[in-house]
């Protein structure tokens, strides 16, 4: 089961290494990890996607909570939420494939953000599955380079992860 866990963390040196270290030390899997400061500069927000059964996820959230610098932990997948990931993808774009890439990019509501005679660089946002879908549709043969940000997530409605 894939879970998206959001963590509010003291924005201090070394705090991130404790979170990453915890996952390694306890043999938990990290699929994606994003982290950046929030509007409150003393706090960082971290989103991690991981997999495991219910008891494993419970342990992960409990162990995260035990870290002194972790302020709050929420399993976003427990409730309604929005998840987004950003992908920058550089594609071989020559001859007839140029038009095809343009069309597919439009269908996926992506943008071409850099162009050369032989390449397009496309920016695409959405749930991770949509990004996977784009790569599938375009075909791996033309993919030169992929950069993905990892998942960011937020609860829907009034639900807030804050102090």
């Amino acid at each position: 089961m894939r879970r998206i866990i959001a963590v509010l963390l003291e924005n201090e040196a070394g705090a991130l290494s404790r979170v990453v270290g915890l996952f390694a030390q306890r043999n938990y899997n990290i699929e994606t990890l994003t982290v950046a400061p929030t509007e409150d500069e003393t706090l960082s927000r971290l989103t991690v996607t991981t997999t495991g059964d219910a008891s494993k996820i419970e342990q992960i959230t409990k162990q995260l909570n035990k870290l002194i610098e972790v302020v709050k932990v929420m399993d976003l997948t427990d409730g309604d939420h929005v998840e987004r990931e950003l992908m920058l993808i550089k594609l071989r774009a020559e001859g007839t494939t140029r038009a095809e890439i343009k069309r597919t990019t439009d269908i996926f509501r992506g943008q071409i953000i850099d162009v050369t005679d032989t390449t397009y660089t496309v920016q695409l946002t959405g749930p991770s599955g949509k990004l996977d879908g784009f790569i599938g549709a375009i075909g791996k043969a033309v993919v030169l380079e992929v950069v993905r940000s990892g998942v960011s997530g937020i609860g829907r409605g009034e639900k807030i992860l804050g102090l």
Partner: protein, 584 residues
């Protein structure tokens, strides 16, 4: 007027303000400003060890015996890395400890400077928390936070890494020790959930085959006395973990002794057949549960623990209660009293029947605590007899530390601990070399108490350099070395699981003459080989004659002896080997 102090002076002043009486440490370049601050004051006594690992075990033994945090001071690089084993030991057993490590100057961090190591990084998986000091002005608050974190909630070791420039005597800052500290991201539970405690009370009152399973959290949480009162009131059997020995008086009829891998027949059978298990401050360690899938199939599990992550980690709890053992039991006692006055024990007959069954287990395969009653003076000494002789010579009133292996299990099984904090051993990490320095920490805390270290020659040789420290500070520890000329527990496993192939578990006659060895350190050594010599030697060692001396009893025990009972791997708790004849 606010005082201005250098970082080094602040650090020591802050320790004074925390009420620290001993620092266990070893100097070195990066810590020298701090050592100079120690020299210029009288209130905190520094104990010079011979190896930093031993310093951490001393602080650990001190903390386990007193309940107050142990304090360690080491230098950077090898000083810091040598401390890691002791920090990990304290971490696994939830022992409050503050470890101050010198660090290279801030501007050299990351340059592979002389004696530089990333202490915060190296220690990260084995500390409750750690701090890297940024400036002298931060020191009072960092120390305050470190002690608060180390001693609150589930206790544990905290590292303070101190770059040399932050303790520079030329740079001063205003000193004021904070009265209190609060951390928005750290709020340990101070009491349990009342509704959950009420559910637990109802379950306890209804139980027909209850067992109380008490762990180190009861000892560390100072809840032994209250637990004993409650268990007596309910007439419930109590088993304790290796870490929980002494939480309930071992000599009492309701005590089933230790449970788990080398637990008693009655404790493990009672756990397996129980319909209710009240687990307090215990973490369902694999050395207790055996195969979790076969664990206590009929039991409702009430689990009280201050660490939410310990609950339902291995065995799902039916009634989880997060909170300190003492606070939860304090809230539980009047509720239980009310329930008992209103309804009495609903099924006293069932409890009688349960006791009959437990007494039956005890009579059929319980431990023999009377192995000294009839002896052949020329016979080989059994290790169990040595522990029983120790118990007799000390009237059960000693602090007993141990190392790791067979001797540890024999001590746990046969020394009757009737009070908490008397049994001091490395349960979680299983650190050989723990026993002697831990005993030293206990002896510093209680200079007039009887402190014994039950060890084996393998473990003892891992930290025997501390014999020199014992001489320097006049520590009258009594070391009982169960010498079987082998790494006994390794050899036992090799006997049982590897066809008796003793791969690297013996020393090929390369052991030292321990009597001469300890004599060269200025102590008293005695060699004991035959059963007839055992009790006289033990009595002499603990007599007034040697009240001020360290005595090392080199007790040569039967090397063929195994520890039983022993859990059968992959089985349930009641699956145990009871004697060597079953395993051959």
């Amino acid at each position: 007027m606010t005082e201005h102090l250098s970082g080094g002076d602040m650090l020591i002043r802050a320790l004074q303000d925390e009420g620290v009486d001993y620092i266990f440490g070893y100097p070195g370049g990066a810590a020298l400003h701090i050592y100079d601050a120690i020299f210029r004051q009288q209130r905190v006594e520094h104990i010079l060890v011979r190896h930093e690992q031993a310093a951490t075990h001393m602080a650990d033994g001190y903390a386990r015996a007193t309940g107050r945090p142990g304090v360690v001071l080491v230098t950077s690089g090898p000083g810091a890395t040598n401390a890691i084993t002791g920090i990990a030991t304290a971490y696994m057993d939830s022992i409050p400890m503050v470890v101050i490590s010198g660090q290279v100057p801030s501007d050299l961090i990351g340059t592979d400077a002389f004696q530089e190591t990333d202490m915060v990084g190296v220690s990260r998986p084995v500390v409750k928390h750690s701090f890297l000091v940024r400036s002298a002005a931060d020191i009072p608050m960092v120390v305050k936070k470190a002690f608060y974190i180390a001693t609150s909630g589930r206790p544990g070791p905290v590292v303070i890494d101190v770059p040399k420039d932050t303790t520079d005597p030329a740079i001063t800052a205003p000193y004021k020790y904070p009265k209190s500290v609060s951390l928005r991201s750290y709020n340990p539970a101070l009491r349990g959930h009342t509704g959950q405690i009420r559910r637990a009370v109802e379950a306890l009152a209804r139980a027909k085959r209850p067992v109380v399973y008490a762990g180190g959290g009861v000892v560390q949480g100072n809840a032994g006395e209250l637990l004993t009162r409650i268990a007596k009131r309910l007439n419930f059997p109590v088993t304790t973990t290796l870490m929980g020995l002494g939480a309930y008086p071992a000599s009492d009829r309701q005590s089933l002794g230790m449970l788990g891998m080398h637990g008693t027949f009655e404790a493990n059978n009672a756990m397996h057949a129980a319909d209710l298990i009240l687990a307090i401050g215990a973490r369902f360690d694999d050395r207790v549960t055996n195969n979790p899938k076969k664990f206590c199939p009929q039991a409702t599990i009430v689990h009280i623990d201050v660490d939410p992550a310990s609950i339902s980690k291995i065995i799902p709890a039916d009634i989880p209660i997060v909170g300190p053992a003492l606070a939860v039991l304090e809230e539980m006692e009047p509720m239980l009293e009310q329930e008992l006055t209103k309804h009495g024990l609903p099924d006293a007959a069932a409890l009688q029947e349960w006791w009959k069954q437990i007494d039956g287990w005890r009579e059929s395969h319980g431990l023999n605590h009377h192995m000294l009653d009839r002896i052949d003076p020329s016979a080989k000494i059994l290790p169990q007899q040595a522990v029983q002789a120790l118990l007799k010579a000390t009237s059960g009133d000693a602090y007993v530390t141990s190392d790791v292996g067979q001797h540890q299990m024999f001590a746990a099984q046969y020394y009757a601990f009737n009070a908490p904090r008397r049994w001091i051993n490395s349960g979680g990490l299983g650190t050989m070399g723990f026993g002697l320095p831990a005993a030293m920490g206990v002896q510093f805390a209680f200079p007039h108490a009887t402190v014994a270290c039950v060890t084996g020659e393998g473990s003892f040789m891992m930290n025997m350099q501390e014999l020199s420290t014992c001489l320097q500070y006049g520590l009258p520890i009594k070391v009982v070395n169960l010498n079987n000329a082998a790494l006994g527990m390794v050899k036992q496993w090799q006997d049982m699981q590897y066809g008796g192939r003793h791969s690297h578990s013996t020393y090929r006659d390369a052991l030292p003459n321990f009597v001469k060895l300890v004599e060269s350190f200025g102590h008293v050594g005695m060699r004991v080989e035959r059963l007839g010599e055992l009790m006289p030697a033990m009595t002499e060692a603990f007599s007034d004659k040697y009240r001020m001396r360290l005595v090392f009893l080199d007790v040569h025990v039967d090397p063929e002896e195994h520890v039983y009972p022993m859990a059968i791997k992959g089985g349930s708790m009641r699956d145990m080997f009871l004697s060597r004849s079953e395993t051959n």
